[in-house]
């Protein structure tokens, strides 16, 4: 086990390096920031001068090697746009993102798993169809729709929650619900499909024969058997939330990493993009490691490596 973790750690370092490399080249392919940093009136000479002073006119490979060197020494440079340590900026935004993503995933898991379980358990009944319809509607209406409608109803009409901003728990409710709306669908559907598989298995029939009520069986037994793909979907959705909550963050003016990355990308703020992708990839790698560990817990037949 310890050996496995060490191995995994080394792999992860490679993966982080990979992500860093991909991002390094990809972001540079999309144009350099010199133009974007200057006001529109700036002349081409000014742009060229800035480019030179930032070192973006050097050969890509040289820049890359420099970048690697910096990275090894833990130096991610200053954001071009904010003029602050890029890493610092990302880390500052991380807590807000985590608040949002964690509470959203919790909501989504609770609702999604429940909905999935109920609809598998009550397969082909009115309630199953109802849940399906609801799930697909929430999935097909875009995040901004959900967000804006939530604001209209809960903030403007009912005055229950503030429209936006980050002032403690109360302002977390609407964005978290909005962000949770989407992943409910994949979680619930995966749960349903997987649980239906499990309910077919002969060990479930054994449990029936042993006198477990269907509900008890599903909740206490089948759930764990069915969890494998669901956990995967959850981990994926959680990952997407960390970096991909841009729309929700924008609508609720939630100062998270998603917005920061988008800003950084559209400003071609190379150091900031690199720093955020680095943090994000570390998080992903952590998530996928945890997921793999959860696999081991769920199904003892799965072996490490």
């Amino acid at each position: 086990m310890r050996q496995y973790i060490v191995k995994r750690f080394l792999q992860s370092l490679l993966a982080i390096l990979g992500a860093a490399t991909v991002v390094f080249f990809i972001i540079r392919l999309s144009g350099d920031p010199a133009r974007l940093m200057l006001p529109p009136e700036a002349s081409e000479e000014q742009v060229a001068a800035l480019r030179e002073s930032l070192g973006f006119n050097r050969p890509l490979l040289v820049q890359y090697l420099d970048y690697l060197k910096d990275m090894v020494t833990g130096n991610f440079g200053n954001s071009l746009y904010f003029k602050e340590s890029a890493l610092q900026l990302v880390l500052e935004r991380m807590p807000a993102t985590m608040d949002l993503a964690v509470s959203a995933i919790l909501i989504a898991v609770v609702i999604g798993v429940t909905a999935g379980v109920v609809s598998a358990y009550k397969k082909n009944t009115f309630i199953d169809y109802l849940i399906n319809i609801w799930i697909f509607i929430t999935q097909s209406l875009p995040v901004f729709w959900v967000g804006i409608v939530f604001i209209m109803i809960f903030a403007n009409q009912l005055h229950l929650f503030p429209t936006s901003g980050n002032n403690g728990l109360i302002s977390l409710v609407l964005p978290a619900l909005t962000l949770a709306a989407y992943p409910i669908a994949p979680i619930a559907r995966t749960m349903r499909s997987s649980l239906m598989d499990v309910l077919q298995q002969s060990y479930m029939i054994t449990n029936t024969a042993q006198g477990f009520s269907k509900r008890r069986m599903v909740l206490k037994r089948g759930l764990k058997n069915a969890l494998l793909p669901v956990v995967t979907v959850i981990s994926l959705e959680f990952g997407v939330m960390i970096a991909g909550a841009v729309v929700t963050e924008t609508i609720f003016s939630w100062p998270g990493v998603g917005q920061l990355i988008m800003q950084a990308v559209s400003n071609r703020d190379f150091p900031l993009v690199q720093a955020s992708i680095l943090i994000i990839s570390i998080l992903y790698i952590l998530i996928s490691f945890i997921t793999d560990m959860v696999y081991l817990w769920i199904d003892p037949r799965i072996k490490v490596q």
Binding site: S202, T206, T208, A209, Q210, G211, F212, S213, K214, P300
Partner: protein, 275 residues
């Protein structure tokens, strides 16, 4: 042995439906089991023994199976007209079953201990703590000749040998002291020493608690050792039934005779001289 009928099966028919085609497994099957007796169901492979057992427990997949006619009466109640909720009261508690296929019958992701503890607590008359239930589980495992029960409870089904899994299933079925035990080829994977111990255990429980047993097996030796009465099934038809001695000494139906004849035997000349 009382004259009270514990289980009555009257004109039972079972059919599987698949793509609008229905295949009948058997029709018009009838037999009774009296309180406290051991009935052995023997017969050809594929003749419907397991289906009968599952039908009694109402375990056949409801959307694929139909019971065009017949009744299954347990203790006077018609099981076929029971709701699922009512069946839950009966299963495991009143009627317990040992499945033929022990590997797939155990949940792969829980330890033996967890599965046994849950079951024991489910049927316990008074509230049991997990620890108490675990102790009981270990005791049960020991009774079915499992050594190192302490370790086995911590293991997952795939880590056990075929015979061990089968014994776990038996232990689980016996844990609730059911009124009727349906054992579907429970000893197929057991070596003879263990098998004879288990048979002994079952007989003992039967005596102690008046358990009634429906024993499905192909092993005539086991039949001989266990049965009060024997039912012979062939292609969904009850071709013969009678007391053990009747069947073994005066088999009437050709199939029964064939069955007895094809029994492999060890001709021990010196058998009696064994120490």
């Amino acid at each position: 042995m009382s004259e009270e009928k514990l289980l009555e099966i009257k004109d039972l028919s079972v059919a599987f439906r698949k793509n609008q085609v229905t295949t009948s497994v058997f029709s018009g099957l009838s037999f009774d089991i009296y309180q406290g007796e051991t009935v052995c169901l023997v017969g050809e492979s594929g003749s419907g023994k397991s289906v009968t057992a599952k039908a009694i427990m109402r375990l056949l997949p409801t959307d694929l199976v139909s019971y065009p006619e017949g009744e299954i009466r347990f203790n006077g109640q018609d099981l076929l007209s029971h709701s699922e909720r009512e069946m839950e009261q009966i299963r495991g508690d009143q009627i317990a079953m040992v499945f033929q296929d022990a590997l797939s019958a155990l949940n792969p992701v829980y330890t033996i201990g967890t599965q046994m503890v849950d079951l024991i607590r489910l049927h316990a008359k008074e509230k049991l703590s997990r620890r108490q239930a675990l102790a009981q589980a270990k005791k049960l495992l020991a009774q079915v000749d499992i050594r190192h029960a302490d370790e086995v409870v911590k293991q997952y089904p795939f880590q056990l040998s075929g015979g061990m899994r089968q014994r776990v299933m038996i232990a689980m079925a016996l844990s609730s002291r059911p009124r009727l035990l349906i054992a579907d080829e429970p000893t197929t994977a057991l070596d003879v020493t263990v098998q004879s111990n288990i048979l002994k255990l079952i007989r003992q429980l039967k005596e102690q608690f008046g358990m009634t047993i429906l024993f499905i097996t192909h092993d005539l030796g086991v039949v001989y050792e266990m049965a009060d009465r024997v039912l012979v099934l062939r292609q969904g038809e009850l071709v013969e039934s009678g007391t053990r001695d009747e069947i073994f000494t005066r088999p009437r139906h050709a199939y029964t005779k064939q069955l007895l004849n094809s029994m492999p035997r060890i001709y021990f000349q010196e058998q009696t001289e064994l120490p």
